[in-house]
């Protein structure tokens, strides 16, 4: 029953992305931006290597503003239009709702990512790349998008204003992306013990993503990403429940 409810929410959400121009705008911008970055900034041709490193390296940065834009409507719009009242008075717990919405948004990101396939064809036509590494690059990119989505969905649940949801989501994603750099760590080094600073540093999604785009999936990275998504969704459910009592 819960599985079917999750699937029902998933289907409705995914369809609603494509019922509005949102989906098409996001996908076109994503495709145009990945293309532009890969060839002009990443120097795809100049590098003279048959791989997609110059393609994947910009994904986390593009996701930083595109993924919160995908996630911002998940809950904020339901709250603004009042449909949250329709949804939350159905005989369904809040977790199938949270999960169904998240998976729909994640599937949407997957679709956008798959539509970059021409670059994969291009690199295979030009040279002889290691397609295993490319597949891992795609998986890694999709996992990072999942992390950002889970964080963005959480932020969407706390407000009915989509702009607020977007800005908070982007800021939170930035913190997780950059937690390995000195700018963020310095804020902790002043007062926190070393192990905590190391812990924060280990949250750095960019470090994890670097491993993935080399074609490996270290166990720590897999565990970290799944834990991050799971925790964010759990917090998301708590926020949805708390709003009923608050």
């Amino acid at each position: 029953m819960r599985l079917r409810q999750t699937a029902t929410v998933f289907t409705r959400e995914l369809a609603s992305y494509f019922a509005t121009p949102v989906a098409y705008v996001l996908i076109i911008i994503f495709l145009a931006a990945t293309g532009a970055f890969t060839f002009y900034v990443g120097g795809f041709f100049q590098r003279g290597q048959a791989d997609l490193a110059s393609f994947f390296m910009f994904h986390p940065w593009l996701y930083l503003f595109l993924v919160p834009a995908v996630a911002m409507r998940l809950w904020a719009e339901e709250r603004r239009t009042g449909t949250i009242e329709l949804l939350s008075t159905l005989p369904v717990g809040s977790f199938p709702l949270v999960l169904g919405k998240f998976l729909a948004a994640w599937a949407f990101c997957g679709i956008a990512l798959l539509l970059t396939f021409p670059i994969w064809i291009t690199v295979n036509w030009l040279g002889d790349p290691d397609n295993g590494v490319i597949v891992m690059g795609y998986v890694g990119s999709w996992l990072i998008a999942g992390c950002f989505l889970a964080l963005g969905s959480c932020m969407s649940a706390i407000t009915k204003n989509q702009v607020v949801a977007f800005v908070l989501g982007a800021a939170l994603c930035f913190l997780f992306l950059m937690s390995g750099v000195e700018m963020v760590l310095a804020a902790f080094r002043a007062w926190a013990p070393d192990f905590l600073v190391d812990l924060v540093a280990s949250f750095s999604l960019i470090t994890h993503f670097a491993a993935l785009s080399k074609g490996t999936l270290p166990l720590t990275t897999a565990v970290f990403i799944l834990t991050l998504i799971g925790t964010a969704l759990f917090v998301n459910k708590l926020i949805v429940d708390l709003k009923k009592a608050g």
Partner: protein
């Protein structure tokens, strides 16, 4: 018969503000309860707690014996709820929405198709079933919301201002639907339109400042009105003062008030002592005093008058 809806000391705070203050009542199947109160009295908050959208701060509520907090899914399963303003997914079609709601409520295959066809027929939505909801008129949207609420043929129906913002024809239709479903369901309808209460409700519960201030049949409420059995008089202008003096002597007359002829069409309102019928006494007294009556009308109770009295009374401590 067991009560289908039961509220026991139900309370809800928002910060330091108490929106609903220890409300208790029960509703049986077959009853249509008009839930009345001024804006901000706590009607929607009470209904939202019953529907599971808000968590009660205190007290208990049960739908068909299921506690809304301990067994939320069972309680919501037995309930059809139309939120205030009937919010709907604008990008879906009515058919898409019904399929979504049916699937979330666990209906499959033939049952789902049968139920959807039944509500579309019942709410007369077949002509718009494939149009996006955002393109529909307000009346259609409200009917779509109502249809989604009754899709699973629930024993309990809670409708928050179902006719608000509709034109008179649409109001009539929605009331007809409610009346048709009334015999085997427990229905709670919130409204601030008082004619609706006499039109569809078997019972009226008035709340003010989060408390129940009256719980009676519409006829009983009407009888509280000082207009009940009052007499309106139209008299020659020079005899009005004389008539007031004469009528003040009648024992069963509680008060004689001037009315504005230009606005009300009458000069005087003679208010009886509660429960007295004064028409004959008034007519006799005026005849005796030699006053010529141009027009004479026996009034019936006015709900808006009772409503105002009940909801503006100072709280009793």
């Amino acid at each position: 018969m067991e009560q289908a809806v039961r509220l026991d000391q139900l309370t809800r705070h928002f910060g330091r503000f108490t929106a609903v203050d220890r409300i208790s009542f029960g509703v049986r199947r077959g009853e249509v309860v008009g839930f009345l109160g001024p804006n901000g009295a706590g009607k929607s908050t009470t209904m939202r707690m019953l529907a599971g959208y808000l968590t009660p701060s205190g007290g208990r509520a049960q739908i068909m014996g299921h506690d809304v907090e301990a067994e939320p899914l069972e309680a919501r399963g037995a309930l059809g709820y139309l939120p205030e303003g009937a919010p709907l997914y604008g990008d879906m079609t009515p058919l898409g929405l019904f399929n979504f709601v049916a699937s979330m409520r666990g209906m499959t295959g033939a049952t789902r198709r049968h139920n959807i066809a039944t509500v579309i027929d019942r709410t007369d939505l077949s002509e718009v079933a494939y149009k996006p909801i955002e393109t529909l008129s307000k009346g259609f949207k409200r009917r779509v919301g109502l249809a989604a609420a009754i899709l699973h043929d629930p024993p309990v129906l809670i409708l928050d201002e179902p006719t608000d913002g509709l034109d008179p024809n649409q109001k009539h239709e929605v009331r007809g639907l409610i009346a048709a479903m009334a015999p085997d369901k427990a229905i709670i309808v919130s409204t601030h339109i008082l004619e609706e209460v006499s039109a569809v409700c078997t019972r009226a519960i008035v709340i003010a400042r989060g408390k129940v201030v009256a719980d009676a049949t519409p006829a009983q409420l009407q009888a509280y009105s000082e207009w009940q059995d009052a007499v309106s008089l139209r008299l020659p202008a020079e005899q009005v003062a004389q008539a007031r003096t004469a009528l003040a002597e009648v024992d069963s007359v509680y008060d004689v008030r001037p009315m504005n002829r230009a606005i009300d069409g009458y000069d005087l309102l003679v208010v009886p002592v509660q429960g007295e019928h004064i028409a004959k006494a008034v007519a006799d007294q005026l005849a005796q005093a030699g006053i010529e009556i141009e027009d004479f009308r026996v009034e019936t109770g006015r709900l808006d008058d009772v409503f105002r009295k009940l909801t503006t009374m100072q709280p009793a401590h």
